[in-house]
Each structure stands twice: as C-alpha cells, then as structure tokens.
Symmetry: C2
Subunit: 301 residues, 2 copies
C-alpha cells in the first residue's frame, strides 16, 4: 500500500519559491510604476493567498517532466498576477463592493478606487510579459512561448474570465438556471485554473492528449472550487473566511441556493470524480494533482 | 516646388480600411463574450474617433517599406483597442467622471460602470492577441512578432500609459511642476503614440536607427498632442469638442494653466519642430508623418 500523499507538506514547500517569484515580479513591475499604483499592485498581489494557480502551474510542469527552476516559478507567478487583477476588480464598489479579502482590507479600501482600477488593469500586460520572459528563460522555442502566452491571454480575456464575470454581474438579483450557473463558473474560475495547468504543461512540452486531459481536470476542479466556495459562504462567517460572505447579500444565485447544501456537496464530489478520471486518462503520475483536487472541496477557507 | 501633402485626403482614404479592421476585430472579440460586455466593447471601440494611432501604425509600416494589406490594418487596430480601453477607464466615475466622449454618452453612461470596467480590461488581452495574429498573418518571423507584441504590452502597461494615468490622478487638485506635467504626458499619451509607430515599423522590419528616430518623433508628437488638447479645452466648449472640458473642473494642471495660452502654443510648436527633426534623422521619405505632426496641433477637436 502506498503512503498517502502529504499535501500540506507539499503546499508548504511550494509556498516559499512561489512567494519569491512574486516578489521578483513585483520588483520589475513596480520599477516601471510610480507611487501609489505600485503600492496597490503589491497589496493586491502579495497577500496571504493560497497560491493555488501558481502551484497548479508548477505541479503540472513537474508532472510533465519539467524540473522546476526559478524560471518555472516566474512562469507560475504570471497566473497569480492575473488572479490578483481579477480579485482587485471583483472587490471594487461598482462590482461586489467588498471590504475584506483574505482577512485584510481590500485594495481599494487602502489605495482608492481609481488607483486600484488602474493597478488591476496594469497587471494584465505585466502578466503577459512575465509569462513571456519566463518561458524564454526556460528555453522554450518561439512556438511554445507563443502557446504559453496565448493561453494566459485567452484565459484573462473576454472569452475566459471576463465573460464569466459579466455573467456573474448579470445574474445578480435573479435566479439563474443550473446551466447558466455552470457557465459562469466554467469561465470565471475554471478558465484560469485550467490555464494554470496548461501553461505549466505547455512549457514542459506535454503532448496534446495530456493537455486535453489536464484541461478537463482543471475545469472540473474549477467548478468544484466554486461550489465549495458557495458552501463555505453559506456555512462560515467572515472571521473564518477572511472575507465578507457577500454573494447572499448581492442576491447572487449560488449552488447552495439552487440545490441545497447536501446536493451541492454531492455535486462538488462528482466534479472531483470527473477531475480524477481526467487525471487517470492523462497517464501522468501526479499524486499532487489528485490530492489538490480533493483539497479544493475539503478546504476551510 | 513639390505639391503640399493632402492630409485630409490621406486621412479619409485610411479611415475605411481602419474601420473595416476594427469591425473584424469586434467580430472575434465579441464572439467570445456575452451580452452587455460585447455591447460596451463595441461602444468604446467603434466610435467616431480620429483613429490617429492605427493611422500612425500603418503610415510607419508603409514608410518603412511595408505594403499595407488587410493584415497590416488588423495590426493597426490593436493600438485602437488599447486606446479605447484607456478612454473607457479614464471616463469612469472614479476617474474623470465624464459624460460625453466624441459627442456621444461615454460607455459607462450607456452600459454601466461595472460592465465598462470589465469591458475595458478585456480589451487589453484582446489587443495583444489581435497584434499577435496580425503580425503572424503579415509573415513576421517569431522574433519580430515578439518585438511587436512586447511593444504593445509595454506601452499599455505600468511603465507606459498606466504610469501616466496615475501621475495624472495624483496631480489633481494641486499644481504640478513643468517636469511632472511633461512626465505625465510622455507616459500617458506619448507611450502609445510612439508604440503605434514602432509596432508598424517593427512589423516592416525597420532597422534600429529608424526605430529610435520614430520613437523620438512619436514622443514629441504625443506631447504636442496633449498641449494642443489643453489649448482646445481652454478655448472651446463642449459642443465643439464633443466632450466635457473637464480638466479645469478637476483642477488638473494643464499647459495653459502653467504657461498661459501663448507660451503653450509656442511649446506645442517646439515639439512639432522636434518631431520633424527626428523624422529628418530617420531618413524616411514620409510626407504623411510630417503632415500628421502638424495636424495634431492644428486640429479643431
């Protein structure tokens, strides 16, 4: 019998090089900026997040045969830059109007709405340049660099995250169908989680079939992640979450509202089963990815 | 004696293929988006603008030996996408809070603040992908494609436009030094105007010395453009401008406030002289660029 994979130890070991890569990214991004935009970028990026996207990126890179160097962590940081942009804009007064994020005041509460809008938008080109430089530093040939950066841009763009964000806004105040709710989260969370895996796997030059399996895995994990978020929002307070459980206040449709707690939990487990099945189909030996899939629905915040 | 260059005829001839390229861009960008974000993107991009940036791009491409095809206009459209994003965000309530732009209601007045913030941000990755595909369609080798897209991303990012936008916000309500005012506009307007020329020239594989001269030209024209804007704001009403002359209301430092009308006019002319000198140094035979430099200070809106 194999020993179970020690995910907490794995996450703890990955945290330091990811954080170091984010600090390096801040150095070059902040160097070109002035004053308060740089402060807002640092506030948004260097928070106490789970770093799920960079860790998925590096884990996929390793599972596909890559040996993670500093450049691989630099590549993974590009995903967190896009994620940070999306949170900074999500929290704005004209969006979710959130005051707390990861236990701290949101970026616009500290740096203002105008500066935060600018800083968030500035992270998009910065993330693309970050991925580009890192992929080149990893020795990727031009067509692989192109594929890596295009994945990131597509996930960050209108067909990916932004499409889902719009659907999310659109759905406030009215009941969504199960299909519409899936579509929101497939785009809003799933696109960037899948891109995290695909950026890592593409940089490690994984074959097409592996990329397809990882995309399936990523989209299922993304949906499970969002259902788990809805469950946490419904069952925990702001103190545990480190943020305001705001979806109910905004009358957003959630999986819990739509299906009830028990069925939402079953749906999350079904997505995890789908993720593990995709992982099996990939042929990758990646115990960290199996453990991460389970982690997203078992986490406490 | 050579016949003077007919700029109005040139601009009129360029308008149609630029507009067609923007429509093509909307087709693929809107195809990936849903509902109101697509509407906001179309509102922001397909306005009755001067299309100065795409025209500079195509003009530089032609001056450097390129023969403009549909792909060259597609490349030029990427600059207008970035410009449209910057205007959509500039006009937001948390920024300049503008109600009119080019004689029409601003995007957030029609589509709301949340959707406009999303749509503006979505244009950044879309612009990069647009430039990428167009440069490839033009047959640029990977290193040239890289240089083209990197120029665009750098101009759109924290070191370019966003840095200038921050300085601009920072300067509201207090007097700026002449140096600080130049720095704002060098970044806010100059970076994207220079990038427009450099994207076109790079795609046409211009040598380094030509790129340097065009960058000098672009930055001087950008500064002249901004001084001319301040002069127009000070001397024309909303009806002529098609927008609210808002800088005075926001107590922003302007060239007119800092130097007076006469001296501001002299400064603009000095920048045009610098632009023409740079053009001379470039060795390019580009009467359209000479005429465009003069046009930016002589325009009426």
């Amino acid at each position: 019998m194999s020993r179970p994979f020690d995910l907490p130890a794995y996450l703890a070991a990955e945290a330091a090089p990811v954080q170091a890569a984010l600090e390096r990214a801040m150095d070059w991004i902040a160097a070109g900026v002035l004053g308060d935009v740089a402060g807002a970028v640092r506030h948004g990026v260097l928070s106490d997040g789970k770093r799920l996207r960079p860790i998925l990126c590096v884990t996929a890179y390793r599972a596909c045969g890559g040996v993670p160097t500093a450049a691989a962590y630099d590549l993974s940081a590009s995903l967190e830059l896009v994620h940070a942009y999306s949170l900074m804009h999500d929290d704005l007064p004209c969006m979710d109007d959130a005051e707390l994020r990861r236990g701290r005041p949101t970026t616009h509460k500290v740096h203002g709405e105008d500066v935060t809008t600018r800083a968030g938008a500035a992270l998009i080109p910065a993330a693309a340049l970050q991925a580009w430089r890192a992929a080149e530093a990893l020795g990727c040939p031009p067509d692989v660099v192109r594929a890596v950066v295009a994945r990131l841009l597509e996930a960050a763009g209108a067909g990916g995250m932004v499409g889902g964000q719009w659907l999310d806004l659109e759905g406030e105040g009215r009941a969504l169908s199960p299909q519409a709710l899936d579509e929101i989260h497939r785009r809003k969370t799933g696109a960037l989680l899948a891109a995290s895996l695909l950026v890592g796997a593409t940089a490690a030059r994984a074959p097409g079939a592996t990329l397809e399996a990882l995309e399936r895995y990523g989209r299922a994990v993304g949906l499970a992640f969002q259902i788990a978020d809805d469950i946490l929002d419904a069952t925990e307070g702001a103190e545990t979450l480190g943020k305001n459980p705001s979806d109910a206040a905004l009358a957003k449709s959630t999986y819990v509202a739509l299906y009830g707690l028990g069925e939402a939990r079953r749906l999350a487990q079904a997505q995890i089963a789908e993720a593990l099945s995709a992982l099996g189909a990939s042929g990758l030996d990646a115990p960290a990815l199996s453990a991460l899939a389970r982690f997203v629905v078992e986490r406490k915040h």
